[in-house]
Symmetry: C2
Subunit: 349 residues, 2 copies
Amino acid sequence: MSEDRRTELSELGEFGLIDTLTKEFKNINASSIYGIGDDAAVIRANDEESLLVSTDMLVEGVHFNLMYTPLKHLGYKAVVVNISDICAMNGAPEQITVSIAVSNRFPKEALEELYEGIKRACDFYKVDLVGGDTTSSLSGLMISVTAIGRAKNEDVVYRNGAKENDLLVVTGDLGAAYMGLQILEREKEVYKANPDIQPDLDGYDYLLERQLKPEARKDIIGFLKDLDVKPTSMIDISDGLASEIFHLCKQSNVGCNLYDEKIPIDTKVSTTAIDFNISPATCALNGGEDYELLFTVSQEDFDKIKGNPHMTVIGHMTDASSGKYLVDKQGAAFPLKAQGWNHFSDAAG
Amino acid sequence: MSEDRRTELSELGEFGLIDTLTKEFKNINASSIYGIGDDAAVIRANDEESLLVSTDMLVEGVHFNLMYTPLKHLGYKAVVVNISDICAMNGAPEQITVSIAVSNRFPKEALEELYEGIKRACDFYKVDLVGGDTTSSLSGLMISVTAIGRAKNEDVVYRNGAKENDLLVVTGDLGAAYMGLQILEREKEVYKANPDIQPDLDGYDYLLERQLKPEARKDIIGFLKDLDVKPTSMIDISDGLASEIFHLCKQSNVGCNLYDEKIPIDTKVSTTAIDFNISPATCALNGGEDYELLFTVSQEDFDKIKGNPHMTVIGHMTDASSGKYLVDKQGAAFPLKAQGWNHFSDAAG
């Protein structure tokens, strides 16, 4: 490369970087229905069905810390985050490939634990491990998973289909994975200061489980089919609610009003967040890693999802020119800010 | 993990490790036609066609050295090694996903070079980049590519179909990529000893190109169709001829007689190998990274491939109990040894 220009990766952020690197690529094969820019690529399987392909890489020290992440949970989570992407396209996951790069400091037994977690996820989500690669690394552990799913062509849901007046719906509750991470980080610091002190994790089971062993909402895809609801747009929540709303709005060319008090937050998240001097809403908006689904439905479908214990209406889509707002209990509207995780500036260099 | 047992990864080797880690996995989805154990997984697309999925990970310091690997070539090669796996199933590559983990020491411009190489390979092989992941690493660069291809169900060629008396055929010539690596490593040492000395790479163009910018033999798949030849088994040569013959023999349950003097070796490989005090045959047998195709055909197809400039008959398959032999000019037979690359013991820890 020429020495006279150097743009730091942290200046671009992950999404800016992907846009920059891939802007020259054009799809030429008829089977490539949809490429970069959604939760998964869409590849034509036949006249009725498409295959969905999603890939994610987890890097030690960036995405996980082996000091408090059991390898079995790590294997499970590595599968889940990819299956979640297939669900976010309204498809059924069927296969995965798993590639790992690992340094010699790991014994075989450690990798067996990792694969035990991978197998548990495969069994639970009825997904087959069909391939992969195993190699050494000079330091640490990297896991790259590719998930392959299937959906009828007319069932595939993209990020770009939300319309003005559509309802914004989220599954489950938000912020717990983030608070789980805060607990683990706190206890790590305590341990580092004095290894004799036992970690105090009592009462935080829900938060820790959401961080260490998240689940993909494959069940929701079934519920939506049973309810005869096809979302107009969908995404999974990996980077935080606000960031995902930005993706839906940008790709669908709409705005959004999000109602603060509607955001589903577990009581344990709220109380722990307050202990940590963090606003519970901030955990939900910017915390990430909840792997819940965020989708929009036409108002006509409201009766079908009303009162469903797995789904909460948290806002509605507006005209793009109206912008994106967080509306509080008193009706005051504040511009929504997306503080998605920027790996290139937030992680240790 | 329990502390009382610890098996070093180097004791197992890559293939032993994969077997150990994946032995408990069973495929349950009807669409999973073939999983682990071939160049690519086979997934049913429809009644006529299958999708082929292959994935490989390249790790800095293990698979490439940025001191002498231009990033553009690295991007190209990362795509090629996966496309080669699709070709080895007798399929046509159509899509790839590319995930990279990269440390902050790389500026955006470096990644643009990498993606220029990726794009060049996509253009040349008519493959679409449809997805990926971009994240940071604590050190170095990792590239994980998944390639997706397509073949008619009846055209898919596995490693396990070779029969006794089938002819063993290899494309192109072997050993050049390995000798290219030896040249680069020698010049690296010279440079480290005295950075003022210019590297002496003159006259080694062919060897260097085979190492730094290998090609996948997509053309061969077309030639075989034109010749109306369907190989009985096939594999690509990534780890060296001997290691690949072992895979075909093991999975097809046959033996093999390989004729030393038939192995196609370029003159430049021979002369350079002798300069390096290496036997040219050893380069071909154990060198690896040639990305040529190795396949077996029924004797009935001999007339169709006889004299083809891209294909050389180098031996024939025998009964499994006969074993695997390298036969020299004088007719003496030596047991064939596979010294495939063991990442876990050969690479720096």
